[in-house]
């Protein structure tokens, strides 16, 4: 491996090491979410169980969030700056998206049943990764 590109040791908060720490939790959230989707759509269950199943992915996501916040605390100054810039791009864009869709829905340009929470949140999720790509390119 090129010595210029081999990864740093863990205490330098190398991106690949931090990803290895948080990715399993993100994957677990994905599994929990997809599992809940299928269960709620196809498995008959009492109302209380439905709500419990609907909330279960949120509990897994909180675990991921705790790991992610820990990863941010271990990041060095540039990585924290990149994360901040990514969030600074993603958060206003998410607000813009939701606001614009709301107004379009009001005038009937977007179908009420097409844009719902299930379809909207992945868009917001991906906005963060778009922000991260943009922020990282700046310092490459």
């Amino acid at each position: 491996m090129d010595p210029e590109t081999r990864p740093s040791l863990p205490h330098g908060a190398d991106c690949s090491v931090e990803s290895a720490r948080t990715t399993p939790y993100l994957f677990a959230f994905g599994v929990a979410y997809v599992g809940a989707l299928f269960a709620l759509r196809f498995a008959p269950m009492p109302r209380g169980a439905q709500i419990a199943v609907a909330l279960a992915p949120a509990a897994v996501f909180v675990l991921y969030l705790v790991r992610w916040l820990g990863a941010i605390r271990r990041m060095d100054e540039l990585q924290r700056l990149i994360t901040l810039e990514a969030l600074a791009i993603a958060y206003p864009l998410a607000l813009l998206l939701i606001m614009t869709l709301g107004l379009l829905e009001m005038v009937g340009a977007v179908r009420h049943d097409f844009i719902n929470y299930l379809r909207l949140w992945p868009l917001v999720f991906w906005l963060y990764f778009i922000g991260l790509l943009i922020a990282r390119r700046r310092y490459r």
């Binding site: 010595p3 210029e4 590109t5 081999r6 990864p7 740093s8 040791l9 205490h11 330098g12 908060a13 190398d14 991106c15 990041m75 060095d76 100054e77 540039l78 990585q79 700056l81 700046r138 310092y139 490459r140």
Partner: protein
């Protein structure tokens, strides 16, 4: 801003990863500083200067700072 980090690192035959470990930062940060894409904070600049037994002014060139 321009700096002599790459030269100083090469004099000691360190890779970017070696320098990153000594500074407790990521290799990406070392690369960004060397290429002038990122200016280190004051504490990190002092750490760099101490590591190379030099002064901040001798390593970093503020006259060529990015606009």
């Amino acid at each position: 801003m321009k700096n002599r980090l790459r030269v100083l690192r090469a004099e000691r035959d360190w890779t970017q990863a070696d320098l990153a470990e000594r500074l407790a930062v990521s290799r990406q940060t070392v690369h960004a500083i060397e290429t002038g894409k990122y200016d280190p904070s004051l504490p990190l600049a002092f750490k760099i200067a101490r590591l190379f037994e030099s002064s901040i002014e001798a390593i970093f060139d503020p006259g060529a700072a990015r606009a």
